[in-house]
């Protein structure tokens, strides 16, 4: 343990930590735009200078490692001159599009301009002519807002996708999609969640959603993902990992959504469908290992890079599609509403969900189960734009019948959660009621933030070999050794959905840890922890069965195809 002083105050630090990290952890703000705990320091923005006693020149705190007894001052005339000049230069790279920018309330550029009293306009903007690169209908990079920190390129490399590249030198430098026809964007959005200035961002749906709510011509239904309840609080000054389920419902109602459903309900449903398929594959000696399908970026990965593995993916639809599908069939009928008059909006931690929602094969009777997808950031922006403070709202429960959930669904948002939930249910289905003692609820081996987790699970005498891939960058060793596994979960984003491309910024290893821990807390506090115990889910599945094989299949299953 090392002790250092920052601005006269003593702090503990670990060897190998940087000065900036220690300062930020202790609430001392040192400005910086290019470093992120997920990446090696790049030291290109040149903002984070501090004075270290005994050193002639100010030093960059993003690369300066702590030493015992070090005395750091974060402000001096020299430091402020260096930082302010570079800030002015950076401001002129970023064309302000504040009125429609979802990042406006969190924007570090605006905050720094305010804090250091710097004019945003000492230099004229120079990037007016820059292109916006759109990646399918989910993610985009707006070159006119880019400040050249390169974190998006690092994020893409962390994912081992290498789709984003740097082109040109000097002021011609630009982040561009690769020309390499063998590389494809999987829309995970890690570039967006690592961009400090919203140049890499989601293709927004909030404008359209706002318009539809305002028109009052449709029944607008919101459904929110398992993981956003533990992250949205961060944008409202709540501690990391604060569970905000009922505040989320209240916020959505306040925004004018007519009904608010919890995707946790649908996650229970997905669990049951997937668990049944797993058992079926084991029984009939079908294609194994079976892959999970909840992560749409992972599906993009398989279709684009490894179409040979399509037969391995469960045909089960993902929770948001199951949820939307039942809203527009079961619920529409029950409520006597024409499905065409229902608009389903998902609030997701994810950018790839925008693409998933618009897949043609998802349509049921001509209707998309989900019409729009908002990221957590878009949701938070809409609230702030309407001056709604989530923390001040009276908590409300999600609407029935899509409001109930078990602990199995709650953990969907973290790496290992989907497979753990499916195993809880599969074991029960396989063993049956009489052998209660033989099945478990907690599968601790599949939890945690390691890149690849492995476990052996007994499902009615079959020893299932499980792998959990946390972050698409870690997928290769598992795909190279498929024979070793029977059931594999892949989440493209580090930590799973809690680290998704649509989540609040920053998302760091420490923050992911806290969000995921909150999910397990929800699970622990649930009376029911196995998805099949969700009575509403079983009822709806029975209803689906009654609609005949064709319709049932349409609502519950999907298909994949090779692309490009």
């Amino acid at each position: 343990m090392i002790k250092i002083k920052i601005n006269g105050k003593e702090f503990f630090a670990e060897e190998g930590e940087t000065v900036r990290l220690v300062a930020l952890r202790n609430g001392i703000d040192i400005p910086g735009l290019c470093d992120h705990p997920d990446f090696k320091p790049k030291a290109n923005c040149r903002l984070c200078y501090v004075e270290i006693k005994g050193q002639k020149k100010p030093t960059r705190s993003c690369t300066a490692l702590v030493e015992d007894g070090m005395e750091v001052t974060t402000e001096s005339e020299r430091v402020s001159k260096m930082r302010n000049t570079n800030l002015e230069l950076i401001f002129a790279e970023h064309i302000e599009k504040c009125p429609t920018c979802v990042w406006r309330f969190e924007c570090p550029l605006l905050k720094m301009a305010d804090k250091y009293k710097i004019k945003l306009t000492r230099f004229p903007d120079r990037k007016a002519g820059r292109k916006t690169y759109k990646f399918a209908n989910a993610v985009e990079i707006d070159g006119s807002q880019c400040i050249d920190c390169r974190s998006c390129v690092d994020a893409c490399a962390m994912q081992k996708i290498y789709y984003l590249e740097l082109k040109g030198k000097g002021i011609e430098q630009e982040v561009v999609p690769t020309n390499d026809k063998k590389k494809h964007c999987i829309l995970c959005g890690q570039c967006a969640v690592h961009c400090p200035v919203s140049a890499a961002q989601e293709q927004t749906h909030w404008e359209a959603v706002e318009k539809i709510i305002k028109s009052q011509k449709k029944i607008v239904v919101a459904q929110f993902a398992p993981s956003i309840r533990v992250s949205i609080g961060e944008d409202f000054n709540m501690p990391y990992g604060k569970v905000m389920t009922e505040h989320v419902v209240a916020g959505l109602k306040k925004l004018g959504f007519n009904y608010v459903f919890d995707v946790n309900f649908a996650a229970d449903l997905t669990t049951v469908v997937e668990a049944e398929e797993l058992l079926e594959r084991i029984k009939t000696k079908g294609v194994l290992p079976m892959f999970t399908s909840c992560c749409p970026a992972w599906i993009n990965y398989v279709e684009l890079y490894r179409p040979d593995l399509i037969p391995n993916i469960t045909t089960s639809r993902s929770p948001q599609i199951h949820g939307g599908g039942f809203v527009k069939t079961y619920w529409a009928k029950k409520m006597n509403i024409n499905p065409k008059d229902i608009v389903v909006v998902s609030i997701m931690p994810c950018t790839a969900k925008k693409y998933e929602a618009k897949r043609k094969e998802m349509k049921i009777g001509g209707n998309f189960p989900v019409d729009y997808v908002l990221t957590t950031r878009e949701f938070s922006f809409m609230l702030k734009k309407n001056e709604i403070d989530l923390t001040e709202l009276q908590p409300i429960s999600a609407d029935s019948p899509f409001g109930e959930y078990t602990g199995g669904a709650a953990i969907f948002g973290g790496s290992g959660g989907v497979i753990e939930s499916a195993l809880r249910t599969a074991q029960f289905f396989a063993f049956g009621d009489n052998e209660v003692c033989k099945f478990q609820v907690d599968f601790k081996d599949v939890r945690g933030l390691e890149g690849v987790k492995e476990a052996m699970v007994d499902v009615a005498g079959n020893k299932l070999r499980i792998a959990v891939v946390n972050g698409i960058g870690n997928v290769k060793p598992v795909l190279d050794n498929l024979k070793n596994y029977d059931y594999v979960e892949v989440m493209s984003c580090p930590g799973g959905c809690i680290g998704g491309g649509g989540q609040p910024i920053p998302t760091t290893p420490e923050i992911r840890q806290k969000r995921i821990a909150a999910l397990y807390e929800i699970d622990k506090s649930c009376e029911l922890r196995q998805s099949f115990e969700n009575k509403g889910v079983m009822e709806m599945l029975d209803w689906a069965k009654e609609q005949g094989k064709h319709t049932e299949h349409k609502i519950l299953h999907t298909e994949y195809k090779k692309r490009k």
């Binding site: 000049t85 120079r126 002021i171």
Partner: protein, 328 residues
């Protein structure tokens, strides 16, 4: 006597411009752990006004290659690269390839786009590895983590030439100086390293009769001196460029330097990518905002990522102090 002692005794320093003690660099590479080691001869010579590496590789290539071989032996290194300026390559490749036949040395032609920044030892290492040509964040240093992360010795052409002389016991503390600009006898000369500027100009019959100033160590990043400052030896990369004080309008010169740095910036860090561009733009104006120019220059030398940016202020500031003020 072993080579490292000889180098130490001769007091060799790097001739690329930074004058880093050669023996220290060699020992760092030697002591760095690694199953492989590499040697690179930096013949990039991207600084305008300096032509001595061309001169040496043309006229004393045997010495340069000999110096590299000594380094390869000393380090037990895997491969040596001659990282060579593309226009030099076109002139000298045939001859050099003949010389390095059956050795561990490979000729590596620098990309014409690599420019000035390609001469930075970490940018050069990136280039040879096939990465983006720009400096690396240091530490770790190239001496310990260079080519493919192996310890790598990068020395200038003239440094290897000197090593060869030292090894043969023929080193005489001389250095190569490129002389150019507004003077009759341009070329590359070889003098005692302690000779002052004035002596060199007189000895080569280049001391002008008109009002003039000089830039030493390169036409871009070199320091500008007036005639009262000619009693010191040449520092940095070996060059003296003579400027007629009448012919060279201050703003034109500054525009030229600014354009050079702007054009050569790799784009990695804010002060250089943005700063050199804003500097160029500021100097274009009819009424120049000198406070802005001064801020941008100060910011370059305080916060740049690599040597290119850090020295970019040198010509401007020395010009202000030594010429502009002295003559006005």
């Amino acid at each position: 006597m072993d080579i490292i002692l000889k180098i130490k005794e001769a007091g060799l320093v790097g001739r690329g411009g930074a004058s880093f003690p050669t023996a220290t660099k060699w020992e760092t590479v030697k002591n760095a752990p690694g199953d492989k080691k590499y040697v690179v001869c930096n013949a990039s010579e991207g600084e305008p006004g300096v032509k001595k590496d061309l001169f040496i590789s043309k006229n004393h290539a045997e010495r340069m290659v000999d110096g590299m071989k000594i380094a390869l032996d000393y380090l037990g290194a895997e491969t040596g690269y001659i990282y060579i300026n593309p226009s030099y390559y076109n002139k000298l490749a045939r001859k050099l390839n003949k010389l390095i036949k059956d050795t561990k040395i490979i000729l590596f032609k620098k990309d014409h786009r690599a420019g000035y920044i390609g001469g930075d030892e970490s940018a050069l290492v990136n280039h040879i590895e096939g990465r983006r040509i720009e400096p690396r964040l240091r530490p770790p240093y190239i001496a310990t983590n260079g080519l493919w992360n192996y310890p790598t010795l990068v020395n200038n052409v003239e440094t290897f030439y000197n090593v060869s002389l030292v090894s043969a016991g023929e080193y005489e503390n001389k250095r190569f100086i490129t002389i150019g600009g507004d003077c009759p006898n341009e070329g590359v000369f070889y003098f005692d390293e302690n000779w002052p500027i004035e002596k060199i100009l007189r000895e080569t019959n280049n001391y002008p009769k008109f009002k003039f100033f000089v830039q030493i160590g390169g036409d871009a990043s070199g320091e500008v001196l007036n005639s009262s400052q000619f009693n010191k030896p040449v520092s940095g990369a070996g060059s003296i460029t003579v400027y007629s004080a009448i012919k060279h309008k201050p703003n034109d010169l500054m525009r030229k330097w600014a354009y050079f740095f702007f054009n050569e910036s790799c784009g990695q860090c804010t002060p250089c990518r943005e700063g050199t561009y804003r500097l160029k733009e500021a100097l274009k104006k009819k009424n120049i905002d000198w406070q802005l120019v001064y801020d941008l220059l100060g910011n370059l030398e305080e916060t740049s990522f690599c040597g290119l940016g850090l020295v970019a202020a040198v010509p401007f500031k020395s010009y202000f102090n030594n010429v502009y003020k002295a003559y006005d």
